[in-house]
């Protein structure tokens, strides 16, 4: 990938061309004048200050593309114009990831150059619009599983072929099954569901800090994260109990704004698919097994659907 490009920037109303090479691990910034410079490595404080006080756009070089980061509330139009202009001069096969703050951090799936430019233009139009911050669940029919992500499809196939019995899962697939799933087991008189297993590759384990996975075991199902409106648990948790009682699998698409309990981490938009199935554990006890996968395609499409529903 040719990273070395001529950068067009506007300064004091004049157009001038700069040559610059994006270095690995050193982010480049486009400021409110449209000028470009290199920032410090790994400085969250500087990042926040540049994004929010100066409306800059950050460019990071990724393994297989570029990452553009900005805050829709503060970004300078000149910076966005220049990033679009620059992106337009890149090779067609460069993949671009867009990360932007809009009531929470969004991270889009990697887009090709023209799709990224188009998305930035759309975002420029809508950045001033207030967005709904409710947790949104779209329940899907199981027949739509063909369009689901791979981990979800594999999870469903394993459940189906094992006829709900964990001991029937082929030995060759046991490791995949355990590493991709979270298990909940009913405990006590009220049969409250508690975390009994957290797979290392489950999206909760990969999204949340490592300590979360270790401390989750034995905690009730609602113990996870706070969302902004406090309704994440209310909307997301009932399905677990229903699956345990009815045995009917559930396939949902979920979008939520989540905040860390400590409030040190800024809210993030989380979009994921989940499949909940009831299975019998090795000791014959019924458990609820969850396979979930981040889709990272938060976008304007789902928000549009939310607005239509409300």
């Amino acid at each position: 990938m040719a990273i070395e490009r001529r950068m067009v920037c506007r300064e004091n109303g004049l157009k001038k061309l700069n040559n610059f090479t994006l270095k690995k691990s050193v982010p480049a910034w486009i400021d409110d004048d449209g000028g470009i410079y290199f920032g410090p490595e790994h400085s969250p404080g500087f990042d926040t200050w540049s994004l929010r006080k100066h409306g800059c756009v950050k460019i990071d070089r990724l393994q297989a593309g570029l990452l553009f980061t900005w805050d829709t509330r503060y970004v300078s139009e000149a910076a966005l114009d220049n990033i679009v202009e620059w992106a337009g001069s890149l090779q067609d096969d460069v993949m671009i990831v867009l990360k932007y703050y809009w009531g929470g951090w969004f991270t889009e799936k990697p887009l090709d150059r023209s799709a990224a430019v188009q998305k930035i233009s759309v975002l420029k139009q809508v950045s001033g619009i207030d967005i709904a911050r409710d947790t949104f669940i779209q329940r899907s029919e199981l027949r739509n599983l063909d369009a689901a992500t791979l981990p979800i499809r594999i999870g469903f196939q394993l459940w189906e072929s094992a006829r709900g019995e964990i001991f029937r899962i082929p030995r060759a697939k046991t490791q995949t099954f355990y590493s991709n799933t979270v298990h909940y087991r009913p405990k006590g008189y009220q049969q409250e569901l508690m975390f009994s297993h957290v797979g290392k590759r489950h999206c909760a384990a990969t999204t949340l800090p490592a300590e979360w996975s270790q401390s989750a075991i034995g905690k009730p199902v609602w113990w996870s994260l706070n969302d902004i409106n406090g309704e994440f648990d209310r909307k997301v948790s009932p399905a677990y109990q229903n699956v345990l009682e009815t045995g009917e699998p559930v396939y949902d698409k979920i979008m939520a704004v989540l905040a860390d309990n400590s409030e040190c981490v800024e809210p993030i938009w989380v979009t994921y698919e989940r499949l909940l199935v009831r299975m019998n554990d090795l000791d014959g006890m019924p458990i609820v097994v969850c396979v979930a996968h981040r889709t990272n395609d938060v976008g304007l499409q789902l928000i549009g659907e939310m607005n239509q529903l409300s």
Binding site: F38, G39, P40, G45, F46, W49, S50, H54
Partner: protein, 91 residues
């Protein structure tokens, strides 16, 4: 403090002055390191918070005074309030 000056700009300016003096450099010297170059008066305005420093200039200041950018921005307190050493080198 100058009227209407952003308190954060004032704090950043104070730390720049502190480190410029520590490195025994003049405002004119520092102004020549910025892009575009600034006069002694321009640097004085940054140090007193009259005018906020641009992000790219802050990076240049941190490089030529050899001090961590986060220290210039937040002092001994990082953005999330955790105390930490922010100075790259103390000669």
């Amino acid at each position: 403090m100058t009227k209407n000056a952003d308190p954060q700009d004032v704090e950043i300016g104070k730390r720049i002055r502190q480190y410029r003096n520590f490195r025994d450099r003049t405002q004119t010297w520092l102004g020549n390191k910025l892009s575009p170059k600034k006069s002694q008066q321009g640097v004085h305005h940054i140090e007193t918070g009259v005018s906020g420093i641009k992000a790219r200039d802050l990076v240049l200041v941190s490089e030529c005074l050899d001090v961590d950018v986060d220290y210039l921005l937040y002092g001994d307190r990082t953005q999330d309030g955790v105390s930490g050493k922010r100075v790259k080198k103390v000669e």
